[in-house]
């Protein structure tokens, strides 16, 4: 077997081994590669900065634990951004989920951040967690028309919504000024568009995993989606804009190295393929 043929038939386990090395090395020994800030993360940052005073914001945790490695850092950064400005701008924040593991992810966040101690926000007055709303798109439609009926109790303290001042004037989608959906799939952007954006005109911004980006780009171009934070790299950039480096920034060297490996493998595969094809022709 010639070297060209060998290069086309590398045992996949060597490739996986290379992937482990390329990812683990920069995590053991950070390289400090430069991080240019992309326009998506700037747009996301600017949008949140420009949210008007007295706004009511829904943060929807539309992903499960499998999406955490990519979406959790942006969730932490976004919640930090919102809670930091919550009292000064009189924002009201409602956290909910259309994925049943969403509350579990948010529980993890609350083990690392104490909103009351870190940001001086009061549960039930400045923010509230309503938990999981089942039914996917049907649940979204029902929530839009009657929020109290869909979630009669909160998730965190399991008390009736009547006990929370924040919910006193929030009844339907008409009372919501912005939806921030952090998501991995269905229900997600198309369902939000169909049940909240179009019928009620509620603007929304989306943080998503990389796989979803090509499907979301047309909505961003058309203006139906106002801002999009795509994947781990953009999360890292956002953390830098917030001046609060976290997990995403810590992983950016590994992202660069892993992409380098993919490019190398694509080049090796193509070079060996075209070279061996030329040989066959001759």
């Amino acid at each position: 077997m010639s070297i060209l043929e060998k290069m086309q038939n590398i045992d996949r386990r060597y490739i996986y081994l290379a992937a482990w090395i390329f990812v683990l090395f920069p995590l053991f020994f950070p390289l400090g590669l430069p991080v240019p800030i992309g326009r998506e993360s700037v747009a996301w940052f600017d949008y949140i900065e420009a949210i008007p005073d007295d706004s009511v914001i829904i943060v929807s945790m539309d992903y499960g634990v499998s999406g955490m490695p990519e979406l959790y850092p942006m969730t932490v950064a976004t919640m930090h951004h919102l809670w930091t400005n919550c009292q000064a701008n009189n924002w009201k924040i409602i956290v909910l989920a259309f994925w049943n593991q969403g509350p579990l992810v948010f529980d993890t966040l609350l083990t690392q951040i104490d909103p009351a101690a870190d940001y001086n926000v009061v549960y039930g007055e400045d923010w509230v967690e309503l938990g999981w709303v089942p039914g996917a798109e049907t649940g979204m439609a029902a929530l839009a028309t009657d929020m109290w009926s869909q979630t009669p109790r909160d998730y965190l303290e399991d008390r009736p919504l009547t006990e929370y001042p924040i919910m006193a004037e929030i009844l339907t989608a008409d009372d919501i000024d912005l939806v921030i959906s952090i998501e991995t799939g269905t229900p997600g952007l198309p369902e939000w568009l169909r049940q909240w954006n179009d019928p009620f005109g509620v603007p929304f911004i989306v943080g998503c995993i990389g796989v979803s980006v090509p499907g979301m780009a047309p909505y961003l171009s058309s203006g139906q989606l106002t801002a999009l934070l795509p994947g781990l790299t953009a999360s890292g950039e956002y953390e830098l804009l917030l001046n609060r480096p976290g997990l995403a920034v810590a992983g950016l060297d590994a992202v660069s190295m892993s992409h380098l490996l993919v490019v190398l493998l694509v080049v090796i595969g193509n070079v060996s393929y075209f070279a061996s094809r030329g040989k066959e022709v001759s």
């Binding site: 996949r12 386990r13 996986y16 992937a19 990812v23 683990l24 995590l27 053991f28 499998s66 955490m68 490695p69 990519e70 959790y72 049943n100 593991q101 579990l104 690392q112 999981w132 089942p134 798109e137 049907t138 439609a141 009926s149 009669p152 109790r153 009736p160 198309p190 568009l193 169909r194 049940q195 954006n197 179009d198 019928p199 995993i209 990389g210 796989v211 979803s212 980006v213 090509p214 047309p218 171009s221 058309s222 203006g223 139906q224 795509p230 994947g231 781990l232 790299t233 976290g246 997990l247 810590a250 992983g251 590994a254 992202v255 892993s258 992409h259 993919v262």
Partner: protein
Amino acid sequence: MIPMWELIGVWTAVLMTLAIYSFLYGENPWYRLAEHIFAGVSVGYAVAFNLDYLRDQWVNKWSLSGTLVLLYMIAIFFGILWYARFSKKYFFAYRWTLAIIVGTGIGMALRTVIFTQFLNQIMAQARLSLWVPGDLLQSFSNTMIAIMVPCVLLYFWFTGPARDRGPMKYIEKFARYTMMAGFGAAFGYTVLTRYSLFIGRAQFLLGITPNPPEARMAFYVIAAAILITLFAKDHLFKKT
């Protein structure tokens, strides 16, 4: 020092992560074990959450009047009919629930899908400015969108020999390049996501803050144990 029960949790999480990744070496019992546990835990979690939601709804809303109780019971009855699909005799009953779910879902989506995913997209395409002052990249991007979208639509509009005649010959080629670029972008982002997921787990395994630092020792020990068992299994099977 974290409490013992948390430490057990960390070691279990490391074991499950590495057991799933052991599939990269090949099919093996570690992977099977983790896969079955994951499936069981996910389903158990979903069932518990659903029951919790049903209880909340019952206590706070549906138990408050006779009519609501009746409606709740009807809903529960149709919910139970889902399980009729496991019976040959009562399979037909499962279709009632399915019909309600599909009918409601489609009706709900069709209400606005024509605007959100069709008309609004067409209008946005029509409003596209080919020249964006001061932003050459956006101007180029918009111009490409204005050319590519009609080309791909025409590609699917004309089929058969009509594609090989006149201007369609060139449009067809350009449309194929457009779609290949689109698929390439999707594939690229897919690779990016897979690596991001892997990086997230690697950060956990190495105990990088805010992950528990105890995970790193567990990673070394469990990775060594799994690798030894995998190599030993291979070696034993080769000998026999």
